[in-house]
């Protein structure tokens, strides 16, 4: 469990001492299941700061929405820290202008899994120290095992600890197992081609093109997305099969070597479309082919932004 007081004290300190102009964190949202991102500019506001396992946004998304000259403090978990590193590498914010308050993350809870068991009218959610969640709902009290509620991408998380935070609040957690992430990709890749395509089509055809996945993703920061581009029109922009499939294919592909597997896209999707099986496949390829994992530092170039002549032996026909 996180020491929230220590977190608030540190956030207050950096604001008071002028280390940063703003701290990006979470505060309680409209319902107990949805704490929401919050932007604190003075230490008095920090009292509203809240953090629990239901904080599902990737805060690094907001980094690119503020001027590069602004000094920003940010709560970062493992995946957020790596997203920040990737954004720093891509020149989206200078590292000197950032103060990262690290939180070792035990995994984000999928609120949909709570609602499945308790019904939609949840009154309060309390995180207990014995790895359970006490949920009070209209239909009664529930004590739910935390591990069974984890979001899928958190259940197979490899780096739960912030890597390059300026300060870490709490004890570091054991690293995850890359084999877990590999397992899912390998299982899917072993299916016959028709089944793979049937799954892909079934997921893509529910898409309503709201682009919530794009907005939730820290790496989707283009001023103009390829789907919004009018001339030339890169892909169909309606909810036609070609348009929906094209969006899912290319959105995922643009994350190659940049995706930190945080799963924010999937959590943001109102249609509950599975997407991480696509990006996990690309991440897995980057790990195997180029021995590259994004965000471990802010210097190593991504495989697609660099070339080496060693490749010629790999691609000989």
């Amino acid at each position: 469990m996180l020491d929230l007081d220590a977190l608030m004290a540190e956030a207050k300190r950096v604001l008071d001492e002028g280390v940063v102009e703003m701290v990006i964190g979470f505060k309680a949202g409209d319902t107990p299941l949805h704490p929401q991102p919050a932007f604190f500019t003075s230490s008095e506001e920090i009292d509203q700061l809240a953090y629990n396992a239901l904080c599902q946004n990737n805060l690094a998304t907001y980094l690119t929405r503020f001027p590069k000259t602004q000094k920003i403090g940010m709560l970062v978990r493992g995946c957020e820290n790596r997203s920040v590193n990737a954004l720093v590498f891509e020149g989206q914010h200078p590292r000197e202008g950032l103060y990262l308050i690290g939180i070792p993350c035990e995994g984000i809870i999928d609120w949909r899994k709570i609602v499945e068991q308790t019904g939609e009218e949840v009154i309060s959610v309390v995180e207990q120290s014995d790895n359970t969640m006490l949920v009070e709902a209209r239909s009664g009290y529930f004590t739910l095992e935390k591990h069974s509620l984890l979001h899928e991408s958190c259940a197979r998380c490899i780096h739960p600890n912030p890597i390059s935070a300026d300060i870490v609040i709490g004890d570091l957690l054991p690293e995850g197992d890359p084999a877990l992430a590999r397992e899912q990709v390998a299982a899917f890749a072993d299916l016959p081609v028709e089944e793979r395509h049937a799954w892909f089509r079934q997921e893509a055809e529910r898409c309503i093109r709201c682009y919530a996945c794009r907005e939730a993703c820290p790496m989707c920061y283009c001023e103009e997305c390829f789907v919004d581009h009018i001339s030339p029109r890169w892909t169909e922009s309606g909810t036609t099969p070609a348009g929906m499939q094209g969006w899912h294919i290319v959105r995922a592909f643009h994350q190659t070597g940049r995706c930190t597997s945080c799963g924010a896209c999937e959590r943001a999707c109102p249609m509950d479309i599975k997407m991480t099986y696509l990006t996990e496949k690309l991440n897995d390829d980057m790990r195997r082919k180029y021995n590259f994992e994004v965000g471990l530092d802010a210097e190593t170039p991504t495989p697609f932004s660099t070339v080496t002549l060693d490749d010629k032996s790999r691609f000989v026909v």
């Binding site: 690309l282 002549l309 490749d311 010629k312 026909v317």
Partner: protein
């Protein structure tokens, strides 16, 4: 399969040294092969491949210069990294990897493009038509195509 397969050839404009070969590609390409000539394979956005695939191509061939002989130094290798991964990715969701072929064309070789295209066409003929990702509404069919 009774019909001849529909192929798309992405060709780097520098990779065919022999004028007769280039002329054959420019003027005598069989009708089932759609030619997209690019300044370098590095110019090929993966979206081009996706457009070909969604538009109903049964096979896509990308021909570029040998490594170290790229007109723009490293365009072909940079492209290959992306396009190779993209074809892997399309394979993952249902467009067989055998349907996308990359060629390094040696400047010295004559007649190689004809041979390779014939071999590729034979391979695609045995695979049959690709329907999995061919989702685009054809322009002649009308409907929501924008």
């Amino acid at each position: 399969m009774s019909e001849t397969p529909k192929l798309v050839l992405f060709q780097c404009q520098w990779c065919l040294f022999a004028p007769s070969d280039q002329e054959w590609v420019d003027t005598q390409l069989p009708e089932n092969i759609h030619l997209a000539k690019v300044p370098c394979t590095g110019r090929i956005n993966p979206l081009y491949l996706l457009n070909a695939v969604q538009g109903g191509a049964d096979g896509v061939m990308v021909s570029g210069c040998l490594p170290e002989q790229c007109h723009f130094k490293t365009g072909n290798i940079a492209a290959r990294r992306q396009l190779d991964e993209f074809s892997d990715f399309l394979n993952y969701i249902g467009y067989e990897k055998d349907r996308i072929r990359f060629l390094w064309l040696d400047l010295q070789d004559r007649g190689i493009i004809q041979k390779e295209l014939a071999a590729f066409e034979a391979q695609i003929t045995t695979l049959g038509p690709a329907q999995n990702l061919a989702t685009r509404v054809s322009e002649t069919a009308g409907g929501a195509n924008a």
